[in-house]
Amino acid sequence: MSGNVLRAACAAFLSGRGYAARTDFIVPGTDIRVDVAAVLPRMRDLKMRLKRGFVPTGILHPLIGAGWVTVTEIVRRTGYPAGHVAAVLEEAAGERWIDLDFQEPEPRCRIRDYRPPAKECLLAFDGTERLAEKLERLEALAGCYSRAQFVFPYDLDEKTTETLAGLGAGIVRYHREHGVFQELVPAESLEIDDPGRFALIVEYVLYEHIWIRTGEVL
């Protein structure tokens, strides 16, 4: 079975269960690719975004959980040109997502009581190819997701099972002929200690998801 089919099936399964899912998701600002990123929205914060718009976390993520941050630091952390950063910050200040302070020697800003619009961010990987590399990607994303799971369309050997379970990752057996995803080892629930990048992922995935939902007929 191609990895493409596996990823699509996995995303379809999760989005049928209230998740906003995205296959082949490149975490913004990095070159890290996640096979399926799935986000479970939180109603209050989702509704707030439907009214006020989504938070431009591509630029604002360094502010989340951080207090005052200088504009120079934001430019450095996000890698965007200074002019673009300044424009986004001014707009975000206008929408009251952030406070801007033009102090000397350099301006700084801070985010106003930010809450991510999601309860959980689940990362799923097709375990059949380049498993070691995917484990590295996962490690690079430590602290910014709630659970991780690896999906296999066949029974997994004991050694790999132990390795994955030892890392707290879940193992899911996909029965292609029946369209069933069977959770063999439940994924451990992890602390979010990189709230900025967690926010970055969930705002992106949710934004795209909501955009599709607006195209519903009924």
Binding site: L14, R17, G18, M43, L46, K47, L50, R213, T214, L218
Partner: protein, 256 residues
Amino acid sequence: MKKPRVFSFTGKGGSGKTTLASLMLAALLRRGTFRDILVIDADPDANLSATLGIPVEATVGQAVDRRRNELKESAGRGRKLRFSLWDTIRHDRSFDFLVMGRTAGEGCYCAVHSALTESLLDTMAMYDLVLMDFGAGLEHFSRRAGNPSDTLLISCDPSRLSFDTARRIDELVRELSLPYERIFLVGSRFPREAEDLFYQLAREAGIESLGVIPADGDVAARNLAGDDLLSLDPVNPALRAAEGLLERLVASGPAS
């Protein structure tokens, strides 16, 4: 994958479903185990809003009717059902609240209704716990749609009739193979001296009993005065009893 716990409340009209649901919510909020809680009033004769102290501004029924009209008369322009369902949810400080209400086209199985079911399921998935107050009627059960629940609580007051109703609900659930993991009987408004009788009648009905909420003067008085049940004195015996029921439910429940 996260799955919400769903507690549904049913039973004969006037048997104490709404009171039980409200007391359970009060107990849940004090306990603090669940972070995101959605309370759904699915009884067409809605009265949860009074016991929770939240005025009803809009119902799902109204949203469905509005959408159906828009589809008929203005080629579907207007707010999509999913979004107006979300608009209908009220946000209290510590829980969210949704009133189903009635639709003009009762009993209709049209596309709008199936879209509603779909959106409702997605919406419920966003919560850690959903409490649903059903009407007395069994039509919810035969309708089946949008009704995933792990636990069904049937309220019984001290009357023969309410045990008969409980038995009929239990039979119907079995007949239709509805996906409840657990069904419990709860005694509502029982005087202390009649509690043994409740357990005996529950055994005769063949339904596992969860416990009893005693008849309580303050609960009754608040109903008359139109006051909510969320601000009861923490030592109120009915509230304490609800805490006991909750303890048993959560301790024996499927892992969330």
